[in-house]
């Protein structure tokens, strides 16, 4: 078994006439939370969307386990066990919480054990089970999006800026939930909230202008304020 669940090898992605990714190479180890950091417009979301097949890589390879998925259709990639939680959460507002979960669970229906675990992680999901998703608060919508990602066993979960616009109490609940989820799967997390990312991440990659400019252990980056400032234009102190 490979030590890496995902490998991106010299991936170039264009959106219309613009080149967004200029040869991204990234290895995501199997298990745990791994973070992709970067400024606005650096190419973080494009990287996740390219992995998911929502943008097609112009060149390079995206390998899941031992399988090249760069030419695969998005739905096939999802069926291989890759879940994607986009920045806008991607829930279906016209459906209830339960219907959203059922959609992601597929034709086999719910695994009662997994459903129970979701309700333990996010009690609001049980409380608002029959409520239309559009009527949930921002934090509850994010919980639903993450619940949908873990309603089935996944090889890899791609999560794009889950803390954006959320209250600190909900962010703390998210940290606990992600730690729990990472025990059974791999999370590739795109985040701008460095405090959140550094409290969860095992490894970190920093992307800038469509290229990976740093790869390493998160604890080392968290400890090196000069490196943070140089790579991200921030220091951990600023977030305290």
């Amino acid at each position: 078994m490979s030590d890496f669940i995902l490998r991106l090898d010299d991936v170039h992605t264009d959106i219309a006439q613009y080149r967004i990714l200029h040869g991204v190479s990234l290895d995501v180890p199997r298990g745990g939370v791994h973070v992709l950091l970067g400024r606005n417009g650096a190419g973080k979301t494009t990287t996740l969307r390219t992995i998911m097949g929502l943008w097609r890589a112009r060149s390079g390879a995206v390998v899941l386990g031992h399988r090249d998925i760069s030419a695969m259709h998005t739905s096939e990639i999802a069926r291989l066990g890759v879940a994607y939680v986009p920045e806008n959460m991607g829930i279906f507002g016209g459906l209830t919480v339960e219907e959203n979960l059922r959609l992601a669970a597929g034709p086999a229906g719910f695994d009662p054990g997994r459903l129970k675990r979701i309700f333990t992680l996010f009690p609001a999901m049980e409380k608002f089970r029959d409520k239309s998703a559009w009527a949930l608060s921002g934090g509850q919508k994010q919980m639903l999006a993450i619940s949908r990602a873990i309603i089935e066993p996944r090889q890899l979960i791609l999560i794009d800026e889950p803390t954006k616009g959320l209250a600190p109490a909900i962010i703390r609940a998210m940290i606990d939930a992600f730690r729990d989820i990472a025990r059974e799967t791999t999370i590739l997390l795109v985040e701008q909230n460095f405090l959140f990312a550094s409290s969860l991440g095992e490894t970190v990659a920093v992307i800038d202008d469509g290229r990976i400019v740093h790869r390493g252990v998160m604890a080392e980056l968290a400890a090196d304020r000069d490196l943070q400032t140089r790579l991200l234009g921030l220091s951990l102190d600023a977030h305290h």
Binding site: T74, S75, A78, R79, G90, F92, G94
Partner: protein, 363 residues
């Protein structure tokens, strides 16, 4: 309930109850239509409402539940109708002709829908709509031009299976003639109406079952956001094609029923764009993506189409002494008032009658 009246969920629940109550009342009236309305015209309207409820509900499965805009729905309706009509004309009255001819029409509709779906559902909605418009136009021209089979613009006149003809006695009375139940003769005419009503009930129930099934939730997800649906593992093109085929099959079944009821099939009664516009208006009036809205939309529109003229004639007579009003209410101006009625309905029920009452789309 608060000081400002019922909350949004309460209003939505009350609205849902009102819509279901209206739909149930319409269903009951249709179920007993031959006993409630003795005249032929009323039964004709009731049968048309039954068939169009299925036709409009199947179209709502496309436009309302899946977000597919198609102008080919009458083409599938026509294929079913022409299949049954040609077989009844060629082989004479009999259920085998209805089954084989109608079945062939339904299979043709399914095959054509699958072909159009596979080839065109990947493209943008507007291009797909144009493809369906072109296909429907070709079918209309073919029906007119292939006179040897379809009898061209004149259409086909044939005899329905014996059970459904007025001469058939279902229950014999003491006088040896057809028995009368609550004043209604138990003959083939009533059998024909209940053939239409029960078949349409089964088809509508099948559609309702589909939207209540897990497939219904997938379709809503596809309509809401195709990319999100893809990202959780659903092949959108496959689902869109499947639902296009299902809607085509149901429309073709409705066409078979319509052909058997009318005992006449021509381009004007099945394939015309006037029918397609009626279907669109009925879906909009009822409320897209509500299914029960089809029941309300078809009933409102059909009653207006068939009785507005009569109502205006009576109103013009009643207001004869008042200046200007009788001219305005002249029955010849019924289309003008139908237009006004449509504008008012859209204004007061922007999401259709059922959609607005059920508070659909409040998010």
């Amino acid at each position: 309930m608060g000081a400002n009246g019922p909350s949004l969920p309460d209003r939505a629940r009350n609205g849902r109850l009102a819509v279901y109550a209206i739909a149930a009342a319409i269903g009951l009236i249709l179920a007993f239509a031959p006993f409630l309305f003795g005249d032929v015209r009323s039964q004709q309207v009731a049968a048309r409402i039954c068939v169009f409820i299925v036709l409009v509900a199947s179209y709502d499965l496309l436009i309302g539940y899946t977000g597919i805009v198609s102008f080919a729905h009458t083409m599938f309706f026509g294929l079913g109708a022409y299949g049954a009509a040609i077989a009844l004309k060629q082989w004479g009255p009999g259920w085998s002709a209805v089954l084989v001819g109608g079945g062939a029409g339904i299979v043709a509709a399914a095959a054509l829908a699958a072909l159009i779906g596979v080839l065109s559902l990947r493209v943008k909605a507007i291009f797909f709509a144009m493809v369906t418009l072109a296909a429907a136009s070709v079918m209309l021209v073919l029906a007119s031009q292939l006179s040897a089979i379809t009898n061209g613009e004149d259409g086909l006149v044939y005899v329905a299976p014996k059970l459904l003809t007025p001469a058939t006695i279902l229950f014999t009375g003491a006088d040896g003639k057809a028995a009368k139940w609550f004043g209604v003769r138990m003959d083939g005419k009533i059998a024909a109406y209940y053939f239409v009503f029960l078949t349409c009930l089964v088809l509508f129930a099948a559609l309702y079952r589909i939207i209540r099934s897990p497939l219904g939730a997938v379709l809503e997800a596809v309509r809401e956001n195709e990319i999100r649906a893809e990202a959780i593992g659903y092949r959108v093109v496959a689902y869109r094609t499947a639902v296009f085929v299902i809607a085509a099959v149901i429309a073709a079944c409705a066409g078979v029923v319509w052909a058997v009821w009318l005992r006449y099939t021509g381009p004007e009664t099945t394939l015309s764009f006037a029918i397609m516009i009626d279907i669109l208006l009925m879906v909009v009036i009822g409320g897209m993506g509500t299914m029960t809205g089809a029941v309300i939309g078809v009933t409102v529109m059909s009653l207006a189409q068939f009785y507005l003229k009569d109502l205006m004639g009576a109103a013009a007579e009643a207001t004869a002494a008042i200046p200007v009003l009788p001219q305005l209410l002249n029955p010849d101006r019924w289309l003008f008032w139908l237009g006004i009625l449509f504008i008012l309905l859209v204004y007061f029920f922007p999401a259709g009658v059922a959609g607005t009452l059920m508070k659909k789309g409040t998010h």
